[in-house]
Symmetry: C2
Subunit: 509 residues, 2 copies
């Protein structure tokens, strides 16, 4: 028997995945719950992740011709009534502003005063208010395509909130576009889907399955909702982004009309798409381990942290000088088109505590520098993707030569591990029995864990969807978009009716 291994996070993933997730967030100091139910406080390390996501995604959104704008937080209540399906979808979970003043009453307490004639809704998403502006801005085909995006906070009341994954207020980016014909609008929705996929693969090191949502899971008011579904380590799905082809639904509701090339008045075709702080929750659940967060080097706010090993005060100047020089040399190097991000942790706290902090925060590389490293010129490198105690010794020049390669190796390693995990837990299933077995683990240590992604035939009926939701809490995550994978017709194992192609079933967050 080998000695019992110690981990930084308790419980381990295999013991209690949801609790492990909360503990990783606390250990990495990413966020915490505020006293307002469902609303989180994003702390510096968590917000730095969001800033990295914003920076990289914003670049891509701008490069494809979209301009950033800002629309009001408040939506007149009547706007939500304009699109029938949209009402049903969003009216349920809105924060409603009814007063615009507080007044102190006799008991010394504040009470809402000055009621609004028309209540205002905090935007759950901005299709309706942006649609109203589009109808003013768009007159002719010359005004099209209109391509805008905004970074904003939105509010959807959550009864069972979970940090990052499902919060009442969250941060996101929402793109809104209008086009002169349906092909172009659909193409827009699809090219954003590609953009998201590339970004999520290269910056979150996360493989995703892309496809269409079934009717039951569509965005309220969309013709087609395209989705990106990731698998996290309890084998559940997370919808990490969506892109909607809205057809003429919102342009009819908002009267977005234009004079086309032939002088005919026509309703525009629109799209909308977004990703949110949910990406951070997915990242944690997909890559984290029993020692905390694991960050892909492309995304990590810091790629290298230098930990000075100072035992005697008189060693300090030499060690810090050596470290500063090393930082200067590293900062001349690039990885993934950006300057390498490195910092020295000068805090006067124990080396062990300090080192564990950065492990829990998921920084890819740690370098310890003490008198021995300086005299020998040999650096001790520790990688977040290896065992905690594992070290690599490299002389200074070797290390500098190898640094971008090291980061790239870590990046690829994280991606590959997630990709293998996704493959290992994706399965073609052809009988109802196998399906129920797949999603009902008999292994008692595995209770919280769903089976993974089941590629199974489906007759297209709501009945089958509802039955599976009731029995197993399973939903159709998507009708995969890559046509080479499971797109042959077959028989629905639940009804015996014909099926056009396989769809992906999974438990989901």
């Amino acid at each position: 028997m080998s000695p019992k291994k110690e981990y930084a996070i308790s419980p381990k993933r295999s013991e209690d995945f949801p609790e492990w997730y909360q503990q990783v967030i606390a250990a990495a100091d990413l966020a915490e719950n505020s006293e307002v139910r469902g609303c989180m406080i994003i702390k510096p390390w968590g917000y730095a992740l969001w800033e990295r996501i914003q920076k990289q995604l914003d670049l891509r959104i701008k490069q494809t011709g979209h301009k950033n704008v800002y629309f009001p937080l408040f939506i007149p209540l009547e706007y939500l009534q304009k699109e029938a399906e949209h009402v049903e979808g969003f009216a349920k979970e809105c924060a409603v502003v009814t007063h615009h003043k507080l007044e102190k009453r006799a008991d010394g307490k504040l009470y809402p005063a000055s009621p609004l004639t028309e209540p205002l809704v905090i935007r759950p998403t901005s299709e309706t208010i942006i649609g109203a502006a589009f109808s003013r801005w768009i007159q002719s085909y010359r005004d099209l395509p209109l391509l805008i995006n905004q970074w904003a906070n939105v509010v959807r009341w959550e009864m069972r909130p979970r940090l990052f994954l499902r919060t009442t207020e969250f941060l996101w980016q929402e793109g809104h576009t209008a086009h002169a014909n349906p092909e172009e609008a659909r193409q827009e929705a699809l090219s954003i889907l590609n953009l998201y996929e590339e970004f999520i693969r290269s910056y979150l090191a996360l493989p995703v399955v892309v496809g269409e949502k079934p009717e039951s899971e569509k965005f309220p008011g969309a013709d087609t909702t395209y989705t990106l579904e990731a698998m996290v380590q309890d084998r559940k799905a997370v919808q990490v982004g969506t892109s909607h082809f809205l057809g003429q639904n919102f342009s009819k509701a908002n009267n977005i009309r234009f004079l086309d090339r032939n002088g005919k008045m026509e309703f525009a075709w629109t799209s909308s798409w977004g990703v949110s702080t949910r990406l951070i929750g997915t990242l944690i659940m997909a890559h984290g381990d029993d020692n905390g967060l694991v960050l892909p080097p492309t995304l990590s706010p810091l790629q290298v942290v230098i930990l000075p090993l100072i035992k005697k005060e008189e060693e300090k100047p030499t060690i810090l000088e050596f470290a500063e020089k090393l930082i200067n040399q590293m900062e001349k190097l690039e990885f993934a088109g950006e300057k390498i991000r490195v910092e020295i942790d000068k805090r006067e706290i124990g080396g062990g505590i300090k080192s564990w902090e950065w492990i829990k925060k998921g920084v890819p590389l740690r370098i310890e520098i003490g008198p021995q490293e300086i005299s020998s010129g040999i650096l001790t490198i520790k990688r977040r993707d290896k065992e905690v105690k594992e070290k690599e010794k490299l002389d200074l020049q070797q290390f500098l030569d190898k640094l971008p390669f090291l980061l790239s190796e870590i990046q690829q390693g994280i991606y590959s591990r997630a990709e293998s995990f996704l493959k290992d837990h994706s399965r073609f299933i052809d009988t109802k029995e196998d399906f129920y077995e797949f999603f009902s683990s008999s292994d008692s240590s595995d209770k919280e864990i769903g089976g993974g992604f089941a590629y199974a035939h489906w007759d297209g009926s709501r009945e089958v969807e509802e039955k599976l939701k009731e029995d197993l809490k399973i939903t159709i995550r998507c009708i995969p978009y890559k046509s080479s994978y499971g797109d042959e017709p077959g028989i629905c194992p639940f009804s015996g009716n014909p099926s056009k192609r396989r769809v992906i079933f999974a438990k989901a967050y």
Copy 2:
């Protein structure tokens, strides 16, 4: 008589300044009112200005050791009650959320449903909710200083909104810090004041007067409010930023306590500070002219726009190729530490319309490129800070050599003009008669226009302040902070009582 000059903006500044302001915003396509009263839609060119401000200011805030975070939009109503002055200041103008659902009634319309037990207030500023977190995060002097910042939207109900300058919802940055002693907290507030001043001077090309607010104009709950006051072209003041030393007021209200070095429990000293989208309104009013917006090159999203003069379709490829090469060469150059920002306007609309669009948007340099420019190798340069028709001819290499210098010249020119304006309309005033005359222009063409900044003595009483507010709509903008200017004692011209030093009186937005 010279022929009548035509301007792009009607009315001119001298005719109707407030209306001119609205027209510049429309002509430059910066923003528009939404259907929600007091809430604006920031359009791409306006939002690009905000992004430039964010980028540069964020850099400076981070360089001085502050970390970005994100706190909830919602503040529990009871939080606002914690600090007595703060209640009085903010309770009046809050948006209050009272319900978290909408339900459809028999008439088919939506109504607020599911009332909240405790109403939520949309943050007018975040001292109270951040204070609650600080009280959890801070235990010991080792946790101090705590230096955070957030970029967020805030809401203060406005009865007389004006785009950018005063809107119900606005975008801003709010810094919040906690310190182990009062000196350090005050120093923080002052160094941020310096940071803002440097930023506003170098990026908005705007001179400001810095100083303290009198008691009556302080931030509700602050010990000292430091302010930056700019003068715009109708000679009114705009408060462009504030930095508050909060003493122990918020730490006592929120129980932010720490164990000091001597093992004694102590309340922390805090500061808070912010600038908002109001900076954009000030920029427009300070630098704009009768042809629209005028942007300082450091701030402008674009520094150079290339306008191809294509008369025949066959000239197009040569002209565009020439332009692209020119762009590549320009982008290798730097100005104010950043790559030069240049774009070509390829839209197929009339050259005159196109040129006027960029004039109205305030872009510093326009370059027209047609067959003549290509064959001669001589470029035609037009500067936004000169007359519309004025041009400079430079050969290609000369132009490239001179470009950073040209931008720097424009930058300095814009700053100098604003500085002269501020000086010309600032005056030491020693009698009540002169004071009233200064603020009561007898020139009828000047009706809307206040006198400027009056440096006058003040006895420190609320009576004088209230009388001047009533008679002239004049307030004390600040007690100037630079001690070399008007800080000798004297006699208050309004009461005859002694005065410690001169203060600045002005009309203000």
